[in-house]
Structure formats: structure tokens, C-alpha cells
């Protein structure tokens, strides 16, 4: 027997659930739906993210819906839910695990996240050194501010990062 969500026809996916749960450390099954996480959630007011619902959906195995819907990317990562959860269910860590799963399965990952990853692979940092403008419209770079040159990682770093980002076969 399997659980089917009658609103969306969504089906439980036990295999994906165990992948999502394996990826993190949290007491998912201790969640008693008190909604303390959601009551203080930064993204609730504007994006309708409800971390307690994420937790129950994972418990029900509705993983496909979560990783394709985009909702897991609305979390601001303020970590209030994880701090305040009385049951150590760590909703924000669960959201990270779901994001990781979405990346592995090439599901719905916002383009900007992939861009940052390729910038880190290219340069070691999230972006190139920027020129900044002062309040009186002078333009400065690090050198003009007497800041030392940026020292960057080499090839071994890049290869290892690339290797780790390649999904494991199982």
C-alpha cells in the first residue's frame, strides 16, 4: 500500500525519502507538528514557506514534489527553525538535504546557484574582485586601498571540488 495525496495525485517515494534523510542529521520522525518552526520563519510571510509542512511531506515520502516545486529554494537560511525546534527535527538542514538531492537528480535548481558553483570552480571565489564606488563617486580597487593581492587555490582544489560535485553511483 502506498500513500497518495488526493489533491495532487502525488505518490510516496520511499527510495528518495531514504536518500534525503541519509544526507543530513536530524530527528525527522520526532516532529510532532507543533509549528514553532513556521511561526518564526523568515520566508513564511512573503513566500509562504512552511517548514513544518516540508517536514511532514518528507515523512510522507512526497520528495518528487518537494524537489521539483521550487519551494525548497524560498528558504532564507536564517536557521531560526532549527534553533527553536523542540524536537531537533532541524527543518533547515532537511531543506539543505532536499536541495542537494535536487542538484544530484538535476531537478529544479535555480540557475544562479549553478553560476556561483562554476565561479568557484573557475576562480576559487564566488565572484571576481569588484571595483567599488565611494560616496563621492571615486572608484577604488584593492590596490588603491592598499589591500594585498588575493591569493587563490590551484588545480588540485578544482579537481577535488569537481569530483565531489559529481553524483555518486549507487
Amino acid at each position: 500500500m502506498t500513500i497518495v495525496d488526493l489533491m495532487s495525485e502525488a505518490k510516496m517515494n520511499v527510495e528518495l525519502r531514504s536518500k534525503a534523510i541519509k544526507k543530513g542529521e536530524y530527528e525527522l520522525y520526532n516532529c510532532f507538528q507543533c509549528m514553532r518552526c513556521t511561526s518564526g520563519c523568515t520566508s513564511m510571510k512573503l513566500l509562504e514557506l512552511k517548514p513544518h509542512q516540508i517536514v511532514i511531506m518528507v515523512k510522507l515520502g512526497l520528495i518528487d514534489e518537494l524537489i521539483t516545486s521550487g519551494i525548497i529554494w524560498t528558504c532564507a537560511m536564517c536557521l531560526k527553525c532549527t534553533e527553536r525546534c523542540p524536537q531537533d527535527a532541524s527543518p533547515s538542514e532537511l531543506i539543505i538535504a532536499l536541495r542537494n538531492l535536487a542538484f544530484d537528480l538535476e531537478a529544479n535548481v535555480p540557475e544562479v546557484y549553478l553560476k556561483v558553483v562554476s565561479a568557484i570552480l573557475d576562480t576559487g571565489l564566488i565572484q571576481e574582485e569588484q571595483k567599488v564606488t565611494s560616496r563621492d563617486f571615486e572608484v577604488y580597487d584593492r590596490e588603491q586601498l592598499n589591500l594585498p593581492k588575493i591569493s587563490r587555490p590551484g588545480e588540485v582544489f578544482k579537481n577535488n571540488l569537481l569530483m565531489l560535485l559529481t553524483p555518486e553511483e549507487d
Binding site: N100, P110, R135, L165
Partner: protein, 290 residues
């Protein structure tokens, strides 16, 4: 005292005022900075796509820091501070992960031993250097100035992993302001997030989140907002005008790094504190101080 500093991407590539002010202020307090070569991103953005890769980045940076021989590592960015703390947490309790990462580090002749002590700007100044030492070093009291502080999320939560200050009632940044002679008021929105985590993917929402906090601060009629995280500074400082447009409000709230105010109180020159780089209208504060 020697301290290693891991600056992180945001500070190294754009938030220069934080770096300039720390490089000016720390030597005045008897601290010399050791820069760490060949470091990369701390791992925070990578955590969204692959947590193990993020841990590798963090531990590699920490191994490079240990290699310099310093015992203390200052991590001025909240995001980097959490990333490193989390990585150490996993390294300590997961044997398989430890072996796997050790092998990767070995390819560069690196090893993480877990001996380095992490500090964020707030607890480094408050607890390591100490309030008393700062008090005696102050040359110009910042009387007549009233601030609110924004300590930020990732140095407070989750408190099982980071503990720079009390997660529900942080006071160290306020104490650090008071020791400079300034007044610092508590406010209900103090723990509210700056929204930076959504800036890339949901920028309008991110700006609105910051805007709700700026509205609350505007109503308090304080002289300024004090931060100690590059992401929070971008949101409340550089993005302040854009935020005003989105939430339909005119903001003129000076936003400063704590280290800039500390520098002013130590009697240091404005040009050595990166003050010309603040995008918010900080002239009002500078006038009151001089």
C-alpha cells in the same frame, strides 16, 4: 598577539571597508594579522548543492590556516564562521568523512588537526581582546550617539554549533558599542534576518525582508545601525535605496561596521577605516563625532 584572518569571498571581492578597518584597528589593540595563502570560498554557497563538497572547502581553508602556525583564526564574516564551525562539527563526529577529506587534503600536503580556535569579530573583541582593554584604548568617546545593532543569523544559530553569543538575546555587540561611549537600544526586530540568503534567487523578497527591518529601525529614530557581517552590510547599506523603492519608504539610515566605529573611537583617521566606501549617509555620524 598573532591571529590568522580568513576574510572570505564577500570581504575580499567587494566589502573592502570591513577589511580596511580591521587591518587598521587590530594592530592598535596589539594584534598582528597573519594572512592565509591559497584559500578559497568558505563553502557556504556550495552547501546548497553538495554538503560534503562544502565541508571539503571549509576544512581545506582551516588546514591552510593551521599550516601558518597560528592558534587563533578570526573569521569576520558570519556565513564563513558558520561554515567552518559546521565543518569542524562533522569532522569531529563522522569518521568516514574525516578519512575521506583527509585523503583529499593530503594531495596538497595539507592536514587538518582540529587545533585552531575560531573567533568571529564580535567574540574576538568582546572576549579575547576584552571589553576592559578596549575601554582603556578608547581616545574619543562616542557620546551623543544612539545605535541599534544587528548581530546577524549565522553566528548565533544553531547554538548547538555556533555560540558567539546568546542565540535569543545577543548582547555582546551592544556591549561593544556601549564601551565606546555610545548608547545602544534593544528592539524587538533585533533577531530578524537581513534576507541576504534570498538575494540571488528571490531578490525582491530579499529586499522586502530587509526593508521591514529598516522600517522598524527608522521608527526608533536612532543615529545608525551597526553590523559585523558583510552580507548584512550589503543588504542594509548598499541596497538601502533600492529597498526604499520596493517598500515605498525613504531611508536615510547610516549603516556601519562595528570596526569602523571602533576605529573612530580609537582616534584613528577616517581614511584608514574605509568610511568613504559606506553607501549609506554616514556624514551625520561623522559630524557628531568630530
Amino acid at each position: 598577539m598573532e591571529v590568522g584572518v580568513y576574510w572570505g569571498c564577500m570581504i575580499l571581492t567587494s566589502q573592502y571597508a570591513y577589511e580596511v578597518s580591521l587591518r587598521t584597528v587590530l594592530p592598535e589593540l596589539g594584534v598582528s594579522i597573519v594572512d592565509i595563502a591559497e584559500v578559497s570560498c568558505c563553502g557556504t554557497p556550495i552547501k546548497n548543492v553538495n554538503q560534503k563538497a562544502a565541508i571539503y572547502l571549509a576544512l581545506r581553508n582551516l588546514a591552510l590556516a593551521e599550516k601558518t602556525g597560528v592558534e587563533d583564526l578570526l573569521v569576520p564574516c558570519n556565513g564563513c564562521y558558520l561554515s567552518f564551525s559546521e565543518a569542524i562539527h562533522h569532522w569531529t563526529k563522522d569518521d568516514n568523512l574525516r578519512t575521506e577529506i583527509n585523503n583529499l587534503l593530503m594531495e596538497e600536503g595539507l592536514k587538518f588537526n582540529g587545533n585552531i580556535k575560531l573567533w568571529h569579530t564580535i567574540d574576538f573583541l568582546h572576549d579575547k581582546i576584552g571589553i576592559e582593554k578596549i575601554k582603556t584604548a578608547v581616545k574619543k568617546l562616542l557620546n551623543d550617539l544612539k545605535f541599534v545593532s544587528h548581530p546577524g543569523c549565522h553566528i548565533l544559530r544553531p547554538s548547538t554549533i555556533v555560540n558567539v553569543d546568546n542565540p535569543e538575546k545577543p548582547e555582546k555587540l551592544d556591549n561593544l558599542l556601549r564601551v565606546l561611549g555610545a548608547e545602544c537600544v534593544d528592539y524587538p526586530e533585533k533577531l530578524d534576518c537581513c534576507g541576504a540568503g534570498l538575494l540571488l534567487s528571490h531578490s525582491e523578497t530579499a529586499l522586502t525582508i530587509a526593508g521591514l527591518k529598516l522600517k522598524a529601525i527608522k521608527n526608533l529614530a536612532v543615529d545608525g545601525l551597526v553590523v559585523s557581517c558583510p552580507s548584512c552590510k550589503i543588504m542594509f547599506g548598499a541596497k538601502q535605496e533600492a529597498i526604499g523603492t520596493i517598500v515605498g519608504e525613504k531611508f536615510e539610515i547610516p549603516v556601519l561596521y562595528y570596526t569602523q566605529l571602533l576605529g573612530l573611537a580609537l582616534g584613528l583617521e577616517e581614511k584608514n577605516l574605509g568610511l568613504e566606501l559606506n553607501q549609506s549617509p554616514i556624514e551625520k555620524i561623522l559630524e557628531k563625532i568630530s
